[in-house]
Amino acid sequence: MSFKDALAPLKEFWGEFRRSSSGLIGLGILGVSVLLVIFEPLIVPFPEVGKRWKDINYWEDNSSSAPPAWTNFFLKQKKTVSSRIENPRVSVEEGDGIIMDRIEFPYRWNYDLPPHDLIFKAVGTGTFQFAVSVERPDGETIELFQRVEQELTGQDVRVSFNTDVRNATFEYLRSKESTEAITELDSESVRPTEIIFSEAGQGMAKAQRPLKGEYKFIISTMRMGEESKIERPRLLVVGAVSGILGTDTGKRDIFSGLVSGLKWALLIGLMTSAISVLIGVMYGIVAAYYGGVVDTVMTFIFELFVSMPVLPILIVASAVFKPSIWFTIGALILFSWVGSVKTVRSMALQIKEETYIEAAKALGASNQRIIWRHMAPLLIPYSFASMALSVPGAIVYESSISLLGLGDATIVTWGQILFDANRGGAILNGVWWWIVPPGLLIAIMGMTFAFLGFAMDKILHPKLRTR
């Protein structure tokens, strides 16, 4: 069989497949998903999401259970969107062996409600002193914070405005506000970001009016010599709304988690279905071809597997063996190969009686040759439809196990995100951005492969098209 001969039926298949719009949509979504998987590191805002999903330190600078940024569109008072400013303007001055840097973070603030927190972060080496201040659009400058760091060896320098600049902002408030208003307050009851981002003047403690415009957060450092330095300075705005799909109670970016889960969903679905359908097809062919005792034994084993309720067994096995994802995939294959056996066996029984098989036998072809060269090529194309149709089942099974908290802890899957959501009270608290997207993605994946599968099925069983 030449290459061209092999291509002809494929071309014919494509010609028919092209006419099914749902099939094309399925193919399109599948293509987009594959692209998403390939370009994952470029797309997600947190590239280490796959490795550090359960690492709380990685997520500490995010806001907790923040809705998606686009929800601002429906709000009258716009909330601050989380962002990070990573390219500050840096200027260096040198004199008398003392080096002074000025790191300036410009930030344009155009919202109505202040962020939860601002975090300055950098990597420090050696000994240095640094101070944080802000220049506001109304021309006022507030000195916020000062600290001396000694003999650092590449640790993180972290200033969280919420905890570290309370006194300074309260002093600023005291200088603007009337005495009566101040007596009711203390530095613990006033959030620094509320002061920084509101118009100065009497009454600012109670009713804050947002001060929109260009802010400049300035970090000035003083250090002795080149060996002391402050690197990778960045300012993180911890907003009340965050990212494309918000964050969960563990401050994790849900969008990153979902994109990272996509590759696992595809892997679980495709690997399980491809391997199990191929096993099933070969099993059916062998049982039908040899017949007799072989058929009886194989049918009995098949029936044994059919009589097992899949999910309960998977749950118990996962609870007992604390599995990795590969164990889960293996177990799924073990139980889902039975799906296509029955149909294939009956089809193979028909093919077996064809004259060309008889002719092949008469010519002295071995059993294996007949199975591989004459029967399998006829039946394997049929299996593509059932392959596609068994993908959603595998994905749902894995998510169900993960939903119970029995998933592989080293990876992120959609089921695990839903497990966290369920345990974190997302339903009760109405944190919809934590529940809707993962489940919707599972459903969309299911739909995609259903589109593909039914489109292929239609071509293979044209009887169902009309009366």
């Binding site: 009589s307 007992v320 089942g393 749902v396 099974y397 029995l406 839903l418 339903i427 529940i435 169902l464």
Partner: protein, 346 residues
């Protein structure tokens, strides 16, 4: 002979169950032994604590002796093969032993009592849902088959594909979020209010608690059923006897309900039953979302509390229910389709 066919099928079901129990007991032997050993330790410790007026070496001796006795009783001194066999026999005779933590409503720690409590609730929930589902599915499927390629047929097929891979428990979460915490129309979970109302109101209370879970199952279930029924009916409509009926001028409705439905009955029953079994095999987890205290919810609790005896007992019972479902299905099928039992081979 239907009698022989039935007997044979039932026997085969029993044999399957025994084999499966054997496989499970071999598979989960290590973990259940660990649990049992720690249960023995616990029991010995408790008993030793009760002996107050003995010297410490006497207590030590008692402990040792008692432990040996228990180990002998549970046959931990016997080879692994024998223990696996014993456990399989225990499973087949529904002797699952005691749970580690969980309790039945009356305080019993017998695994069988805990599961026996949950089983009827699961059956109630799922059979109700499947009955409604099947009725809707048949009606919708017939309407679809009447005009294949029409707007209704196409949109229904589309929805079938859209909900094809949607997990029931996720839809349950959605419905709870909307109808329990958004519009406060339904209770958040459970089977009855606390305290449960008396008399006739109790039935309504259960129905009220059932509404949301049943709706979840139906919303996902009937599309696929309708699609399958449509395909079966379309297949039958292409048969020669339908063509001859049409040629004779039999009205279309009579063809659909008289000729087609009659032929389609066996596969329809199979589909309804199979989807019930598929729920047991797949959707059972969604009980946990609604805290519906059935077998599925039992899996949640047993996994959370790491109660291995309950987990294994639950698995055995679920498998038993599933298997008997398959047997009943074959029996009904054999009854409806006389061709099957002629060969004597299912």
């Amino acid at each position: 002979m239907y009698k022989w066919y039935a007997l044979k099928r039932i026997l085969r079901g029993v044999v399957m169950y025994v084999i499966l129990m054997f496989v499970f007991s071999a598979l989960f032997n290590t973990v259940s032994e660990t649990t049992q050993r720690s249960q023995i330790e616990e029991q010995v410790r408790l008993e030793a604590n009760r002996l107050k007026n003995l010297k410490s070496d006497q207590i030590e001796a008692f402990r040792k002796q008692r432990k040996e006795q228990l180990i002998k009783q549970y046959r931990f001194d016997r080879p692994v093969g024998e223990r696996i066999l014993l456990r399989a026999v225990n499973s087949v005779t529904f002797n699952f032993g005691k749970s580690t933590i969980m309790k039945a409503a009356n305080g019993s720690q017998q695994v069988l009592a805990i599961i026996g409590e949950a089983l009827p609730r699961t059956i109630l929930l799922f059979t109700t849902a499947i009955l409604i589902e099947t009725v809707i599915g048949i009606v919708l499927g017939l309407i679809q088959a009447r005009k294949p390629g029409g707007i209704l047929d196409r949109s229904t097929s589309l929805i079938t594909m859209i909900v094809y891979g949607m997990p029931a428990w996720w839809l349950g979460m959605m419905l709870i979020m909307v109808f329990v915490y958004g519009v406060k129309a339904f209770p958040s979970g459970g089977i009855m209010s606390a305290p449960p109302p008396d008399g006739f109101m109790r039935v309504f209370d259960v129905l009220w608690h059932m509404t949301l879970p049943v709706c979840t199952l139906i919303l996902l279930g009937f599309w696929g059923l309708a699609f399958l029924i449509r395909n079966i009916v379309l297949g039958i409509l292409q048969e020669d006897f339908i063509m001859s009926a049409r040629a004779r001028g039999v009205p279309e409705n009579k063809i659909l309900f008289g000729h087609t439905m009659r032929t389609a009955a066996p596969p329809l029953v199979t589909i309804g039953f199979l989807s019930l079994l598929a729920s047991i095999s797949g959707a059972i987890l969604f009980e946990g979302i609604f805290s519906w205290p059935g077998l599925g919810n039992l899996y949640w609790i047993a996994v959370q509390q790491n109660d291995v005896p309950v987990l294994l007992g639950n698995l055995a019972i679920t498998t038993g229910v599933y298997l008997s479902g398959l047997v009943i299905l074959d029996l009904v099928y054999g009854f409806l389709d006389p061709r099957i039992k002629v060969g004597g081979k299912a």
